[in-house]
């Protein structure tokens, strides 16, 4: 379970996250939506203890992430698929992370197989395409077989086959009773994958409901999203 309590993060004079509170429960996929710059990635960094909150709290399984002893066994996250050393092989990249959390080489081979990168495991990650890097990032998130998972725009750059694979993967993980938080800008895809939706705008909570509730009053999730975020789009094109 992930829980945000009055979470606030300020960078200089930008208020990236503004008194944000919501819970992500196990057992279903929670979609995390919001316009560019709404604070989704920042919220995820705050949950992982990478950035320090200005005020408020972000809790995983009721505690602070920084207090976890072997965090990969409890929380897996994909934040930025490009964050790999270009000269390191995919296998070694995962192995570096695995070793730090007492995870064995067998599990590394397993997740590589799972994301379909076994064939290029010994190739340098710098030469990977965007979609391959996304798969590598997903493999890293799954390494410790964690109960809580966060993915920041994992379908970016994936081929149609990959998009469908992610959909199945996310739903499968949730059905196993895990907590899954998934951000994306693809509304139709989100409607197929998520059960619950959290929408943020300008760092504040805009909506926290099931997909069914959101689509009840609107023709589609996209229409619902458009209507709800109309006032919080910061970087929209001029019309």
């Amino acid at each position: 379970m992930i829980e945000l309590r009055q979470l606030t993060k300020r960078y200089g004079d930008t208020l990236a996250v503004d008194e944000l509170s919501f819970r992500v429960e196990p057992g279903h996929v929670t979609g995390f939506l919001g316009p560019n710059g709404a604070g989704k990635s920042t919220s995820m960094r705050l949950v992982l203890g990478l950035d320090a909150p200005t005020s408020g709290q972000a809790l995983v399984n009721g505690g602070r992430y920084a207090d976890l002893r072997r965090p990969l066994h409890e929380v897996g996250a994909l934040l930025d698929a490009g964050a790999v050393h270009p000269g390191r092989s995919a296998y070694n990249h995962l192995m570096c992370l695995a070793l730090s959390n007492d995870i064995g080489a067998r599990r590394v081979a397993q997740v590589l197989e799972l994301v379909g990168l076994s064939g290029v495991a010994r190739k340098k990650a710098g030469g990977f395409s965007l979609g391959m890097k996304q798969r590598l990032g997903i493999a890293a998130a799954l390494l410790g077989d964690p109960g809580v998972l966060m993915f920041d725009e994992p379908v970016n750059g994936l081929d149609p086959d990959g998009v469908r694979w992610i959909r199945g993967l996310m739903r499968g993980l949730a059905e196993e009773g895990r907590t899954v938080l998934l951000s994306s800008h693809l509304m139709s895809e989100m409607a197929l994958t998520a059960d619950r939706i959290v929408i943020v705008g300008r760092g504040r909570l805009v909506a926290d409901a099931t997909v069914a509730e959101l689509t009840a009053g609107y023709p589609s999730l996209e229409e619902a999203y458009m209507a709800l975020t109309a006032s919080s789009v910061e970087y929209g094109a001029a019309r």
Partner: protein, 254 residues
Amino acid sequence: MRAVLASEWLKLRSVGSTGYAVGAAALTIVLGIVWTLYVVSLADARGSIRAAAPEEGFLPLVQVSLAVLGVLAITSEQADGMLRTSLAAVPRRGRLLFAKAAVVGGVTLAASAAVLIATYTISRLIAGDRALGFNDIGLLDGLPTVLASALSVAVLALVGLGLGAATRSTAAGIFSVVSLLFVLPSVAAYLPAPWNTRVASIMLPNLVPQIAGDRLSRRLGDGVLPPWAALLVLIAYGAAALLAGYLVLRRRDA
């Protein structure tokens, strides 16, 4: 802790830059052999000669190469974003930096000791019983200086790691190390006497001769520090840089 050490050791082994850095440092052995052969040929022509010892003359090469290795151990992760992934796996930042320091310190100490001892021994063997100036003391008597040099290289790599973490940039990290290693000492040497010697005595590259009880240079004469104090100052350089790196790493958003 053992897990984090194993992870950092693999990180260091699995990137190409480590190989280049150690390879550049190991070039000293080759250069040392060429140097000694050349000096030997001069000595055979002229009788005897006073030449610099190769493990001292080429020491800057070892220092720069392995200091860069230390800087890169942290700044390359910051540059490509891997540091976030690393911190998600090891949220205790002090622990991560400490593991990096242990691995970088161990690897650079082993590499510099191997390179310097090899250069030292091979050059003495090539020299045989010719009088080349640098081989006028017994083979074992020169070893303490060589080991002090190796230790200073390892400390320098840790200074690089600490300053890399503090400045969060490869270029700035290397610039800081180079400032400590070359810029400040060369500026200090231009101070009027006796301040040149006093200030030079606490400069990083001048600590090795003081630890070994040698003079700093012909111009600067003897340093003001006794061996134990020079050793303490050397360790203080590493500790201060790592502390600075830790404070920045702990406080800043990753």
